[in-house]
């Protein structure tokens, strides 16, 4: 008998004889929530920063003023091609190792934990948001949901090959519980909250 067959056989014998019901999730997640304010507070608390912008032009001028011009920047947002490369998405991901800043757009954000939902179609390459020294993510203010329950309602049956929630910069506290930002992923995260 294959391991699969023998494992499944043992499980069948040993699992409880009757199926216990799945709970109803509809009572979870608050009715009223001040999304934008909550999002900002939580993002700051987990080491991220935000800038409120009206449009992509404001994103461009912020990046010009705050990141060194000579360092490599990449994006999947065509409107930002003035300040960042857009023709890298078919390259070997190892070639992204010298990227200083990656700028992508998120589908939506979650106020209770400041997480942003991104999937492969927004990332260009899966590695892009992890390998860069710094990360910037654009999200529309109207695309903030209160909790993870609404987040998964919104994701629904969306088909993706890879998706991730990103909440703040990469971090570790593995040395004596001292918090250090920039473990292996981005050293800093800036969120552009767009009108």
């Amino acid at each position: 008998m294959s391991s699969k067959a023998s494992i499944l056989e043992k499980i069948k014998q040993n699992q409880p004889s009757s199926i216990s019901e799945l709970p109803d999730l509809s009572a979870l997640g608050p009715d009223t929530y001040e999304n934008l304010q909550k999002y900002k507070t939580v993002l700051n608390a987990i080491g991220g920063a935000f800038v409120e912008v009206k449009d992509n032009d404001e994103v461009i001028s912020y990046i010009k003023n705050n990141y060194p011009a000579e360092k490599r920047k990449i994006t999947t947002i065509p409107e930002l091609s003035e300040i960042a490369e857009t023709n890298w998405t078919n390259d070997d991901p190892h070639s992204l190792e010298n990227v200083e800043l990656t700028i992508v757009k998120a589908h939506f954000g979650v106020s209770e934990n400041a997480a942003l939902w991104v999937t492969n179609e927004l990332l260009g390459q899966r590695a892009s948001v992890f390998i860069a020294q710094y990360l910037a993510i654009v999200v529309n203010k109207k695309d903030l949901v209160p909790t993870m329950h609404q987040a998964y309602e919104r994701i629904g049956n969306q088909d993706y090959s890879f998706g991730t929630f990103i909440a703040g910069p990469s971090k570790t506290a593995d040395i004596e519980q001292s918090l250090v930002l920039g473990a292996h992923g981005a050293r800093g995260l800036i969120v552009f909250l767009m009108d």
């Binding site: 799945l22 991901p93 992890f130 593995d174 292996h184």
Partner: protein, 466 residues
């Protein structure tokens, strides 16, 4: 760490010799517990969340036979290769064969307690494979030739001085520089080269979704993603109990996991892997290794609901004061102590006794496992089946015959009070294990029976007078 197992109480005694470090360990973990409380108290529906998570996991355990088959079917449709391993050895063999098929001699891993449980690192190292753990805490203990002492905080037993020395020796950092920022930066640079040069990356699995065939891996450091997205092959290893029915159930578990673990609202990255990237390979290894047996133990099956947050360890007064290594098991603390006897009763018979049964673990568990009750139940089984030390068995048998016979009980009580009053040195010494770190209580003048006899007579007399 191989070699002879040191019993928990002995290992705890060794851990307690360095009082300052023991106190620091205790306080640090309590701080993490307090962070958990702060995070939980901010969610008004926290208790409903716990109850919901518990019910979802109960459903999973009652229908896991179907969910696993659904998961495999979906994962295969997504282009993922699914393997099944009956035990740790088969799990290790499968991973080694994937490496061999690709003629690869190096692998980078993110945190997976399952691979610790299966002793994968030793297995692969023996076969000449270079294994590198990429979680900072795991890398630290790996360089020191130790095992993780905590499932979420692998190096929590170490001080920054220890890390500084280890990094000086292995990564060439400045001698004596113990700044966590500096040390983390050194690890970042060292591991970046590893990520950029490995062809095969291994991760654990936090949740696997039967409905879609995808699985979720949570990290704060980004090490799992760095490894996987730069490699050609991704191997994900999961105990079969990691399955959950539907994608929407992640909403419940991702709200609970990080808050329970470290007090964060969510981990930095919660990555959902569904299909391999173009031209790449994705493998999932589903492991039993005793889980199906535990599923059949009615009293202990719900230990399989565990989502590995570590909250029960952070709150446990015994764990905090004895350290993770004293549990000689991949998963330490209260949850480890109810999982370990299932794997090997004779090796792990001491663990269910490493508890005060205070119940704090049960109170913080995000999926409502009755941990302390299971510890108590394991004790009864272990004693019945003869796995407890003979001294304890003899003492218990002696106690039973004394308690069963009123004459002997009365005599024993009188003798004990006499000795404790006249010659306390006979009991207050190191031959009496109870005396360690405790004072014996002051002996009463008379026993309760004597007191009751006297007083009930007096009150009867009083009643008669009225």
């Amino acid at each position: 760490m191989s070699g002879k197992i040191i019993e928990h109480s002995k290992a705890a005694e060794i851990f307690n010799r360095d009082i300052k470090r023991e106190e620091w360990h205790d306080e640090t973990l309590w701080m993490v517990r307090e962070k958990r409380d702060n995070a939980a108290f901010q969610i008004p529906e926290w208790e409903l969340l716990r109850e919901t998570a518990s019910q979802i996991k109960n459903n999973v355990l009652s229908n896991i036979h179907q969910y696993l088959q659904d998961f495999e079917e979906q994962a295969k449709k997504n282009g993922v290769v699914v393997h099944w391993a009956a035990d740790g050895h088969e799990h290790n063999k499968i991973i080694h064969s994937i490496l061999e098929n690709h003629c690869v001699k190096q692998i980078v891993k993110s945190k997976s307690m399952l691979t610790e449980e299966c002793h994968l690192n030793e297995y692969l190292t023996d076969k000449g494979i270079d294994v590198i753990d990429s979680d900072l805490g795991e890398r630290i203990v790996q360089l020191r030739n130790e095992t993780p002492s905590h499932i979420v905080l692998p190096a929590i037993h170490l001080k920054k001085e220890d890390v500084s020395e280890t990094f000086h020796e292995h990564l060439g950092t400045e001698k004596g520089n113990k700044d966590p920022k500096y040390l983390t930066e050194a690890a970042r640079l060292h591991l970046r080269n590893v990520f950029l040069s490995r062809k095969i990356a291994l991760t654990g699995v936090n949740f696997a979704i039967a409905e879609t065939g995808e699985f979720v891996v949570c990290t704060n450091e980004g090490n799992a993603d760095m490894g996987v997205h730069l490699a050609d092959v991704h191997i994900a290893c999961m105990g079969f109990e990691k399955i959950i029915p539907q994608r929407k159930h992640l909403g419940v578990f991702l709200r609970l996991l990080a808050r329970s673990a470290t007090g964060q609202p969510i981990t930095t990255y919660s990555s959902h892997f569904k299909k391999p990237a173009d031209g790449k390979e994705m493998h999932i290894v589903i492991v039993d290794n005793g889980r199906s047996k535990q599923l059949g133990r009615e009293d202990f099956r719900n230990s399989l609901k565990c989502i590995r947050c570590g909250a029960c360890m952070n709150t446990c007064p015994v764990y905090r004061r004895s350290g993770g290594h004293s549990y000689h098991n991949a998963v330490a603390g209260p949850i480890g102590s109810i999982l370990a006897p299932n794997l090997d009763m004779s090796k792990n018979a001491d663990l269910p006794f490493a508890s005060t049964l205070c119940g704090s673990c049960t109170n913080v568990c995000p999926v409502k496992i009755d941990i302390h009750e299971q510890l108590y139940k394991w004790r009864q089984i272990l004693v019945k089946e003869g796995y407890t030390p003979t001294t304890k068995t003899i003492a218990m048998k002696g106690m039973a015959s004394v308690l069963a016979n009123p004459v002997i009980f009365d005599f024993a009580g009188k003798t004990a009070r006499f000795i404790m009053q006249k010659a306390p040195g006979l009991v207050n010494n190191n031959f009496n294990p109870w005396y360690k770190q405790r004072e014996m209580p002051a002996p009463p003048e008379e026993s309760f029976r004597e007191w009751y006899k006297k007083n009930s007579r007096e009150s009867k007399d009083k009643n008669n007078e009225q």
